[in-house]
Amino acid sequence: MNSLEEKINRARQEWQALNNGKTPIIYIGAATCGRAAGALEVLAAVRETLKQHRLRAHIVPVGCIGPCYLEPLMDVKRPGYPRICYGSVTPAKARRILESFLLEDDPLPELAVGHFGRDGDPALEGIPRFFDLPMLKPQVRVVLQNCGFIDPENIDHYLANDGYQGLLKAFSLGPEAVIEEVGEAGLRGRGGAGFPTARKWRICRQAPGEVKYLICNVSEGDPGAFMNRSLIEGDPHCVLEGMLIAAYAIGASHGYIYINSDYHLAIARLKKAKEQMEAYGLLGENILGSGFDFDLTIKEGAGAFVCGEETALIGSIEGRRGMPRSRPPFPAVSGLFGKPTVINNVETLGTLPNILRNGASWYRQFGVKGNYGTKTFSLVGSIRRGGLIEVPLGIKLRQIIFDIGGGSWKKFKGVQTGGPSGGCLSEEFLDLPVEYEAMAAAGSIMGSGGMIVLDEDTCPVDLALYFLHFTQKESCGKCVPCRVGTWHMVTILEKITRGQAVAEDLSQLQILAETVKRASLCGLGQTAPNPVLTTLRYFRSEYLAHIKEKFCAAAVCRELVEYSIDPEKCNGCQQCLEVCPTAAIKGARAEVHQIDQFRCIKCKACYEVCRYHPLAANAIVISSGRGVA
């Protein structure tokens, strides 16, 4: 243990030296979200600028700090200033910021997003405090506390920020007390179902047998969800420390991380982190002299959605087809290779170091009774400030969507939580507290954290169809309700979106949804009808409008809309004529164009070009006319 203490001390010193040194530090948000927005190009530009001006600076690629809508993010810390964050950085912008800030001492407040210093610093005139930004202010950072601040590939950064203190605490408590502590903290499974973590552990711990397994579930497959990926990319060690704590508590000596193989960066970081742990004596036999042995396998899954279901996940690790089996026996009794197995979500595990380090009562200060702690969400869809957020449980949906997210782009219509397994909640649920039971009562689920905001441009029928189509395609095919039932639901929904449905179809859809929910084997099938059931409940009028009036309020359902040209706006640029694949648009240059409805195939090409082309005037209107009832 001495050697670890030495390493911690050294890491702390280095961390101090880095932060208080004379060399500027440039942080680049280089997680997948940042890279997609161009962080690597920014990084190259930073390097080049430094080289050109013969400047010395530490470049620290960090994980996602949250406001993905501002990516790529670049933060600069130079002596005399706190760290300042710049958003939507392009290579040119990065060059300008560096030149101005490092050479001329001007932090360019007009480009800055926020600073990390104290309030009222005169040098920071015009820059708000980062954590006082409307998006950040209601948030609490527990799991994500290191994301965006440390180099995820450097274990010393993690150690310097109280890393592995939770594990040391766990060792000093003993396994039983660890379970006790986690139970006391009221931690519930963050994968979505909310099963009390400590209870699951206890079942597994008490199950007979020498060999037990711990699995970390990173099979994140919901459309629009990226919390788990971001956490691993930003702070892999906190998940791994959590795994050590959990394994210690249940008595497992081998752990698996089941991760989608397309999470390349996360896998690379996990592998690197694993090597570092081995080098620091945090894996292997007799870890830190505690007598606890633990080894780790990173298992890359092929990315089937159903492999997030625990029994299918176990099958996949065992080398079989990812296909769920009936429970009981539950994995905690008979799981991987027939041995007692605990499967925890990434976020559940990532929370553990904090709970252990700070104690259960500290953790209980967040959240509300029965739903303690925080939850990360990926806030996406039609939202002004999308990104990775962490909020205390019990927060209202309104706070998340309007205070943190800044509201939808157009008029708010609803929010889909829990991905394809969740439900679509309408405006009247904006004051619903984000709690497991409350969400379930409203017909949705907490889910693993995908939160898709919908505005008036979203058609709820189309949304339900999209999710059903997804679950149908991802169904393993084992049980009939899920394989065939969801498919019939898809066809009925397709009929509705085409305006071919009759009123009876709605009741059949309802019956079908109930059957699938009741009779399916696993969670995938049992929750697949949720998007349909909730939209049927909260947006029934829109379903009826589709059926009776052939009217799609959001003008999304292709068969029910018409394309027309606003004669007031059209400037006759002829751009739409160029892209129309069926030559449905006619019109001479500088004259108002017209669309031949018989030829139009509603491909949306003209709409896109008219909206975004510099010459065009956004004159194409997609509208759905109310038919005769």
Partner: protein, 838 residues
């Protein structure tokens, strides 16, 4: 955990039952005849929970648990038929039917249609209107009827998949598949073959081998276990596709190899329409191989079966009555001196037939010229093989052995029952080592596959024998494995106690086989191992015990044994002194020229007729161009009573399941009638039981005909067989280059002289006989296409065979199976191969 109580009390539908702990709800219900509909559960398979029809209500459990996966617990309150459960079941069943062609299930006219086929013209094949081969046996039909589904509220969407007919033996129409997963579990859990799996996702989910391979390519053994458990018409035997439901079943012993599986013949209208494995733990344990499962109906129901006796008359074949046929035979036989007569009888015949045949030769003809041409199959290795048979152990020992050594054994098609035992042994931790020159099915699963060149098995066995005798410095031969690995394997064999050595057929036909088997014998002695030779002929041991060889008398005694001769003379009430002139089936012209050659269940030689008068007694006319003088129709093994003795020495019953076609008679009956006609005493048997009783008096191990004890007994054979000298075949350097090594073997899958591949369509595909197997890379280099005729030239012969690509062969090695009377003396033999332009 309260382990002390072996049973729990549960309440099912308001009634209390005591059920063994560990039962599932479904098992409990079935035990008390409470009907719970289910399509995916099967007694031999693990619970699946896929069809969702067996949902029940259990107090205190959320949702509806499936009865097949939920274990009973003390005090469980279960309701199997509440209105809610029934309505969900009906919904689920409708979902099934919406993707299953289901006119036959819910059509209004289905009752009339059964009789008048009136709606077929309207509905046709796509909707499955009575076009399903499973009509009347379909479990889905049954469930639909029980749940009373009248119509389907959902639109019907068929998958429109192509019916897969490219593989032999069974067709697959996945449009009818309900994905119950029984076939997959059967293949994976019971057969441990892992050929079938679920593929794709969502609505495209389908069953089949991975990577869109055919069953042939994916290593399928065609055991048919998947076909047996399919609840719908998805998987169906080609041969009995439209035969419908069997009326009767008859358990009997399979006649296709020496394993002696118990088989349940399916009978309809006095025809055998199929064979299913019998639930018999002793030998095959509910499994069968492709031959027993699929080959019987086509073999015994062939349209060319002999139905009447006929004789050759003025170059024509003329039907005659049995009376005339017997008279003609008796006449011809009566004018033969003992050494002018020869009788060949197949060891596929029943023990009783064999006994009567040798008695006929010895008593009626006073001749010793009786032989079973099985001796040609074993050839020079016969004596060494018999020595192994004398050490044989029961197959059950494989189930306990810590290490198993297989030599020349391929369990893919023939003997796949043994293959299943081997895979089970591997699963429980036994080490399996296989020695085989070709990439065979054990190579995939065994712990070690030692690959010698053909004929090189002896060197490996020699090394093992020397190593295990204490000579640990012995140097191992060059093989695919390193010498260190071979040493390790030898060490493992030496350390294990209770090793079993399985001997297949593919090590018996080398010129060096006598030496190889002798080394094997020595190795077995060093290890204290049991040997289990697996004879290719179902009643080879029976033929040895009955003495249908010039060298042997009934009971395995040498024909020179005076004491035995005295005993026999007393029983047979005749004087009999055997000739010893070297006559046998491999040397028909050793004695005087034959006047009459009597062939029972044996193929005709293709060359000159070997006797003045040929009597041919079989189930089919001969394939050979020679016409016999007298042809007598015999009964197949499905049409006669008797016994077979399998390779382990078990005496097992063969039952008459159907009547022989036309006027065909069992072999023993024909022989007895001829003998009586000749005025010979001692052939007044009216029943096969009487023959068995006579055998029982002479031979140990034969007791009760109707309830044979079926005990495994190793064989005791007195004396040695005369082996015809194989001549001075040796590859002499003659300046020419012979780039290939030809490994020729006699046909193995033969019934009564007819290769299965000549009578059963699927067998033609899997047992490619009389075809030159060649590595595809070699073949392409020689610019050969599959099926091209190639000329194979050695120092001793020139032959033409069509070529077949066999990737499992190593380069430079070619292989062929030929009819046994065309065997080539030296094996393996260096050859030249070129495309034939004939």
């Amino acid at each position: 955990m309260r382990e002390k109580d072996a049973t729990v009390t549960v309440i099912i539908d308001n009634q209390s039952y005591r059920v063994p702990r560990g039962y599932t709800i479904l098992q409990a219900a079935e035990r008390f005849d409470i009907y719970i509909p289910t399509l995916c559960s099967h007694k031999d398979l693990s619970p699946f929970g896929g069809c969702r029809l067996c949902i029940v209500e259990v107090e205190g459990m959320r949702n509806f648990p499936t009865a097949c996966t939920t274990p009973v617990e003390e005090g469980m309150i279960i309701r199997t038929h509440t209105a809610q459960v029934q309505s969900v079941r009906k919904e689920i069943l409708q979902l099934f039917l919406s993707e299953h062609t289901s006119s036959c299930l819910i059509c209004d006219e289905r009752e009339e249609c059964k009789r008048y086929l009136g709606t077929i013209r309207k509905a046709g094949v796509t909707t499955g209107c009575r076009y399903c081969p499973k009509d009347g046996q379909c479990e889905l039909q049954e469930v639909v009827e029980k749940l009373g589904i009248q119509e389907i509220e959902y639109p019907i969407y068929y998958r429109n998949l192509r019916v897969e007919k490219e593989d032999p033996f069974y067709d697959r129409d996945y449009n009818l598949c309900i994905l119950c997963g029984r076939c997959v579990r059967m293949c994976q859990e019971v057969r441990l073959a892992n050929v079938l799996a679920f593929k794709q996702r969502g609505r495209n989910t389908i069953v089949g081998p991975a990577y869109a391979r055919t069953h042939l390519e994916s290593g399928c053994e065609f055991c048919g276990a998947c076909v047996s458990v399919c609840p719908t018409g998805t998987l169906y035997e080609k041969a009995r596709k439209w035969e419908g439901v069997a009326q009767l079943e008859q358990v009997t012993t399979c006649s296709f190899c020496g394993v002696g599986c118990q088989i349940s013949l399916q009978i309809k209208a006095d025809r055998v329409i199929g064979g299913l494995p019998a639930e018999d733990p002793l030998v095959n344990n509910g499994q069968l191989c492709v031959k027993g499962r699929f080959c019987i109906p086509e073999l015994v129901n062939g349209p060319w079966r002999l139905r009447h006796p006929f004789k050759k008359f003025n170059g024509l074949e003329v039907d005659i009555s049995w009376e005339d046929a017997i008279t003609l035979a008796a006449e011809q036989l009566s004018r033969c001196a003992p050494d002018e007569f020869g009788l060949l009888i197949s060891s596929n015949c029943t023990t009783e037939d064999l006994y009567i045949a040798q008695k006929f030769a010895r008593v009626a003809m006073g001749s010793n010229q009786v032989d079973s041409p099985a001796r040609l199959f074993y050839g020079p290795a016969l004596n060494a093989y018999l020595a192994l048979l004398e050490k044989s152990v029961p197959l059950a020992e494989v189930r306990e052995a810590p290490a198993i050594l297989c030599v020349g054994l391929d369990t893919r098609y023939g003997r796949s029952v043994v293959g299943v035992e081997l895979r089970r042994a591997m699963h429980r931790g036994a080490r399996v080592i296989t020695i085989h020159p070709r990439e065979h099915n054990l190579a995939l699963t065994a712990h070690a596959w030692i690959q010698p060149p053909p004929g090189g098995e002896g060197e490996i066995l020699q090394f093992f024998a020397r190593f295990t005798a204490g000579e640990e410095s012995a140097s191992p031969p060059e093989t695919n494995l390193s010498s260190e690995t071979l040493r390790q394997l030898a060490r493992e064999l030496k350390q294990a106690s209770g090793v079993v050595i399985l001997v297949g057929s593919e090590v018996l036909h080398y010129s060096a086989s006598p030496q190889i088997l002798a080394v094997l014998h020595r190795l077995a002695e060093n290890l204290g191992a049991g040997v289990l030779p697996l004879p290719a002929q179902n009643n080879f041991v029976g033929s040895l015990l009955m003495g249908t060889y010039p060298e042997l008398l009934p009971g395995g005694f040498s024909s020179a044994n005076e004491k035995r001769l005295k005993e026999l003379e007393k029983v047979w009430q005749t004087e009999f002194r055997p000739l010893t002139n070297g006559w046998n089936s491999g040397n028909l012209s050793a004695g005087k020229p034959l006047k009459v050659l009597y062939l029972i269940g044996e193929a005709l030689p293709s060359g000159e007729p070997p006797a003045e008068f040929l009597i041919f007694q079989n189930i089919y006319p001969p394939d050979s161009p020679i016409r016999p003088d007298l042809t007598l129709p015999a009964a197949a093994f499905t049409e006669a009573d008797g016994t077979f003795v399998n390779g382990e020495g078990r005496v097992q019953r063969v039952h008459r399941a159907v009547n022989p076609p036309g006027e065909a008679l069992p072999d023993w009956e024909i022989l007895c009638r001829i003998a009586r006609k000749m005025g010979v005493r001692g052939f007044d048997f009216s029943d096969v039981r009487e023959i068995h009783r006579e055998i029982a008096a002479l031979v140990d191990g034969f007791q009760d005909f109707d309830q044979p004890p079926r005990q495994a007994r190793s064989l005791t054979i007195e004396g040695k067989f005369q082996i015809a000298a194989s001549g001075s075949f040796e590859a002499k350097p003659d300046g020419k280059k012979y780039p290939y090594l030809l490994n020729a073997a006699p046909l193995e899958h033969v019934y009564r002289g007819f290769p299965l591949s000549s009578r059963v369509e699927g067998a033609r595909v899997i047992f490619a006989d009389e075809v030159l197997h060649m590595n595809p890379r070699d073949a392409r280099r020689a610019r050969l296409q599959e099926g091209d005729p190639v000329e194979v030239t050695s120092q001793y012969f020139r032959k033409v065979w069509p070529v077949k690509f066999s990737p499992e062969l190593n380069r430079g090695i070619v292989q062929v199976t030929v009819l046994q009377n065309e065997l080539i003396g030296l094996n393996p033999i260096p050859v030249i191969i070129r495309k034939s332009h004939v």
